[in-house]
Subunit: 225 residues, 2 copies
């Protein structure tokens, strides 16, 4: 798309986004005492694909098929799945793809998955930060892609909007703590803060983290600085 030179032609979604952000920041200042509802979710191993890899894995011009919505607006689990082949020549099949498509393909594994596949020192990274990470062979129904990099363990992180960040008194890139109660109570000490205007307060942890703390056994969760 060619960018418009007339400032009056700024597109509708951009206007909506700016208005929402300003409104949320205003609400944030006005509601310091009301705790936002905290949703903690488990993110199982999955893949994000770029257009070029989608073409190879599922066929030129194919699109991801919506299966079910994820908590963050616009994100969804796709019906498409692939197989990943690790350095020990072991595989994990039925690796789910999450949409929408991204600029770079990326695979997010728990350490349990990674060690089984032979990635013994998988880097712990925020999504999108894949420079220097290991690659893998990915097999789709229509073709095979050799990723040069992009296999990570996703760092535990909290999505929030500016109003929610204001409530906690945190800024982009800060670290928070998340305490999970119950019989296997655990406190995660390095929860990365990710602020976006369209986000809803939501911590994502992987299956190792969820199973370590027995997330399915308790509703006692607390996010704090």
């Amino acid at each position: 798309m060619v960018s418009a030179t007339n400032p009056a032609s700024i597109d509708r979604s951009t206007v909506e986004r700016i208005v929402r952000q300003v409104a949320l920041e205003y609400l944030g200042r006005d509601s310091q005492s009301k705790a936002p509802e905290l949703v903690v979710q488990t993110s199982s191993r999955h893949m994000h694909v770029c257009r070029e890899d989608m073409d190879v894995l599922f066929g030129p011009g194919t699109e991801l098929t919506f299966d079910r919505p994820l908590f963050q607006e616009g994100n969804f689990a796709a019906k498409e799945m692939v197989t990943i082949v690790g350095p020990r020549s072991r595989i994990i099949s039925n690796l789910r793809i999450l949409g929408p498509m991204r600029k770079q393909s990326q695979v997010e594994l728990a350490f349990t998955d990674a060690i089984m596949l032979g990635f013994n020192d998988l880097p712990v990274r925020l999504s999108g930060n894949i420079k220097g990470t290991p690659g893998a062979v990915i097999i789709g129904p229509k073709g095979v892609v050799e990723l040069k990099e992009g296999v990570i363990r996703a760092a535990i992180h909290a999505h929030m909007n500016p109003a929610e960040a204001a409530y906690f008194g945190v800024k982009q890139g800060d670290m928070m703590k998340l305490r999970i109660g119950g019989p296997s109570s655990v406190t995660f000490n390095n929860v990365h803060v990710r602020i976006d205007a369209t986000s809803r307060l939501n911590v994502h942890m992987d299956t190792d983290e969820a199973n370590a703390c027995g997330l399915h056994l308790t509703k006692d969760v607390e996010l704090f600085k």
Copy 2:
């Protein structure tokens, strides 16, 4: 064995045990300032077998074969392995048996293993406390045992001797915290204290817990009340 009525006949090993315990408690009081070395270890899924189940699984009168020693004196990984069949009719093969034999058979799984097998609400228990826990079918090279109970997720725990307990100021059954540093830093809030005269300070966690905190990525470990 018939118990002796003559108090002079108290057996040698009991005397040794009492002497060791008193000596260790004395040492504990005398060395409050010296921190004992903390060894944190990952305990992969495994089984303990009783004499009766050993007979069925590996043949009447068979013994466990020593493969390698474990950190706690007298405990060892055996060469013998079995297959466990879970409620979803999925299996885990090569489930290692740890020796020596015990009074009751018991299987210790991580939640990741348990959920895969179909145990969705596996109880979190200290070893030996298996009343009311689920059972499973166990397949050995010579026969099949149907455990009525004994499948657990082992609660994270710290073995220590009385001197080490004195150093930390804790008693049998207390809870401590264990902080693991590094990029995926985690604090385990419910570490059960298990005191025995012959123990060496040693925290046991399962593979989910070790993979959640990236235990292989750091040497920064701290046990505290």
